[in-house]
């Protein structure tokens, strides 16, 4: 399961805020309700206390009744309690039982609940103060809801604020992820630590350390390949020179035939070493700066070089577009990329075929297509052919490095590369489509 810190943090904080809001709101609600009830009880008591002192002089109609408050609902009913033994009088507003003890009671009278406070007077008479509970509860609820209101309004605001703060805090991490995501695989530049939070900086520093070690390892590997290719060249040169000189000596037919085979083998070894060195160089981080140059001129240089090869096989090598295009590139490296591709095209095209180049100018790119009339590359092979030493036909003469070199250079020069079928009807021929940054 993927664990996102941001999601977890925001979930936990949301839960915490909700629990606190519900808890605090509930507590506030209950407390406010109780306080309100109590303060109304206090009110009854105070009225009772007030009447206790002036009670003797209090004149009440019949059994006695006084209404405090204007509204019918909020009034407090005051009446004498009948002495024990006296029959209940109908004149009293509330049918209160005579045996009520001093203090608070909640009673069901006239199908309504009343809160009744009984106060004994010094003359032995007892005064009852009553108020409808419905009303009291209504007031208590109103004040309880009012106590709850801030939590109801503020909790969602707090949630929103927390979400925004979390998002802002995690923004540098998102940016960092995007930066690393969009990197090319050979880009081992350290990650900028400057704008990151301190906690992440240590982490990024560790990653940078790893990147540096990977970079050093890759550099050592490249150096080794370059050194090895370089060291191999000298003895190979000596061997070729010896074979060449041997060819000038008189020898039998059989010996000459074997010498020819030996020379072919030497030629192949020389080519392999040259390609290895080219690959090692193409994989070093970008060297020369890009400059605007004529694609036509680069093509001319490459075609001049490969023309003898094409002529040997009677392959018609040429360009189908008249207009030149200016590209932003490193001309020697682009030439090497094209040389490998055109060399491949010539190698895999049967004698009498054609290799055609076509360029097309777009706003950001110059598209260059190299089409041949060879067998083409099956769609399933198109990924793998770029791997070093991979050959579709393992008995082939190539080093298996050509397309790996092409891909490495293409990456350095920002060239996009695609392999297609040149002639979809016949399912034959390879079309290599290059998108070269336009100048």
């Amino acid at each position: 399961m993927k664990r996102s810190l941001q999601a977890q943090l925001s979930l936990a904080l949301t839960a915490a805020i909700l629990v606190v809001a519900v808890g605090a709101g509930g507590f506030g609600f209950v407390t406010a309700y109780r306080d309100s009830i109590r303060s109304q009880d206090d009110l009854l008591m105070q009225v009772g206390a007030l009447l206790k002192h002036s009670g003797a002089a209090l004149s009440l109609d019949g059994a006695g009744m006084a209404a405090a408050g204007d509204e019918h609902d909020s009034r407090v009913t005051v009446q004498w309690l009948p002495d024990p033994g006296d029959p209940p009088t109908d004149a009293a507003p509330l049918p209160l039982p005579a045996d009520l003890a001093e203090g608070f009671h909640t009673l069901l009278l006239h199908h309504e609940y009343f809160r009744v406070y009984v106060q004994a007077l010094p003359n032995g008479k007892r005064l009852a103060l009553a108020q409808e509970t419905d009303l009291r509860q209504h007031i208590a609820q109103r004040s309880a809801w009012r106590a709850l209101l801030p939590f109801v309004v503020l909790a969602p605001l707090l949630l929103l604020a927390v979400q925004r703060i979390i998002k802002r805090l995690f923004a540098p991490l998102q940016a960092l992820r995007q930066e690393i995501d969009s990197r090319r695989e050979d880009d081992l530049q350290p990650i900028a630590e400057r704008l990151l939070p301190r906690e992440v900086q240590a982490f990024v520093a560790a990653i940078n350390g790893l990147l540096a070690r990977v970079e050093a390892g890759m550099a050592a590997q490249r150096r080794f390949v370059a050194d090895a290719a370089h060291e191999l060249r000298t003895p190979l040169t000596a061997l070729s020179l010896q074979a060449e000189r041997l060819g000038q000596a008189p020898m039998s037919e059989t010996a000459r035939e074997r010498l020819t085979r030996l020379e072919t083998g030497l030629q192949r070894a020389r080519q392999l070493v040259t390609q290895l060195l080219a690959l090692a160089r193409a994989q070093t981080p970008a060297g020369a700066a890009l400059q605007p140059c004529s694609l036509h001129e680069v093509l001319r240089e490459v075609i001049e070089e490969l023309l003898p090869l094409a002529q040997c096989k009677q392959i018609d090598l040429g360009v189908d577009s008249e207009r030149d295009a200016c590209v932003l590139t490193q001309p020697q490296e682009l030439a090497q990329l094209l040389r490998n591709l055109i060399d491949n095209a010539i190698a895999y095209t049967p004698a009498g075929g054609a290799v055609s180049l076509r360029m097309e100018r777009h706003a950001q790119w110059v598209a260059l297509e190299i089409c041949d009339t060879g067998p083409g590359i099956a769609a399933s092979e198109r990924e793998r052919v770029f791997q070093p030493f991979y050959r579709i036909d393992p008995s082939g003469q190539g080093s298996g490095l050509g397309l790996a070199i092409v891909q490495s250079i293409a990456r350095r020069l920002g060239v996009t590369l695609r392999l297609e079928t040149a002639d979809p009807a016949q399912q034959s021929g390879l079309r290599v489509r290059l998108l070269i940054p336009a100048a």
Partner: protein, 220 residues
């Protein structure tokens, strides 16, 4: 002709020395940079074959030191083929550059070219092994066939191509060689001249590259 060969690899040195001897050069072979400087100080040479990867003094150092006082033709041999290495070698004063692995034939051809350039005798003939163009007589011949006289424009066009055998010249570049400034360029003039040159020499004499231009074969 006396050649100084500076090569640290025993096998290559031996082969090159024998090949030079076989081809009529007197060759002295040393294996280190300081030995090369010593030999150059004591003996008069006609050319220097210099391997850049040397023990002792580096090949480039030898070349730089030599260039402070001598114009001796130098052909550099190297296993480094980076563009920077090549430019470095030529900047230090090499006349030409030979990349390992090379064939003896190539080495001898480059050596001849370097010696010829330095001797200052400009040949009045251009040849690519197929066509020979006589600059004085304004004639051309195909292999061993008798020379054919060329018109002024045919000569100008063929001379442009023979100046750099193997290089492709576009129509615009050829027209530039044929017409002066302000002269009106006739359409198809280039095709017409090439057609007539092919008829006079051989239809294979001048090759066309689709969409690029024309060339004469490089000497093989």
């Amino acid at each position: 002709m006396r050649i100084l060969l500076v090569e640290d690899d025993a096998m290559i040195g031996e082969e090159v020395r024998c090949a030079l001897k076989d081809n009529g050069y007197a060759a002295d072979w040393v294996r280190a940079g300081d030995a090369a400087l010593l030999a150059l100080a004591q003996q008069q040479y006609d050319a220097l074959l210099l391997d850049l990867g040397l023990p002792g003094a580096d090949g480039l150092a030898v070349l730089r030191q030599l260039r402070t006082h001598s114009l001796l033709p130098v052909l550099v041999i190297t296993a480094r083929d980076g563009v920077q290495d090549r430019i470095g070698g030529l900047d230090a004063g090499a006349d030409d550059y030979l990349l390992k692995p090379f064939a003896i034939g190539e080495l001898l051809a480059r050596l001849r070219a370097v010696l010829r350039r330095r001797s200052g005798v400009a040949s009045d003939q251009l040849s690519n092994g197929q066509i020979t163009l006589d600059l004085a007589a304004k004639t051309a011949c195909w292999h061993d066939a008798p020379p054919v006289p060329l018109s002024a424009r045919e000569f100008a066009l063929l001379r442009a191509l023979m100046g750099r055998p193997g290089a492709i010249l576009s129509r615009a570049e050829l027209e530039e060689k044929l017409y002066g400034w302000g002269e009106e360029v006739e359409s198809n003039a280039v095709e017409f001249l090439i057609h007539s040159l092919r008829r006079k020499l051989d239809k294979e004499a001048i090759k066309n590259v689709r969409g690029m231009g024309w060339l004469v074969q490089r000497a093989s």
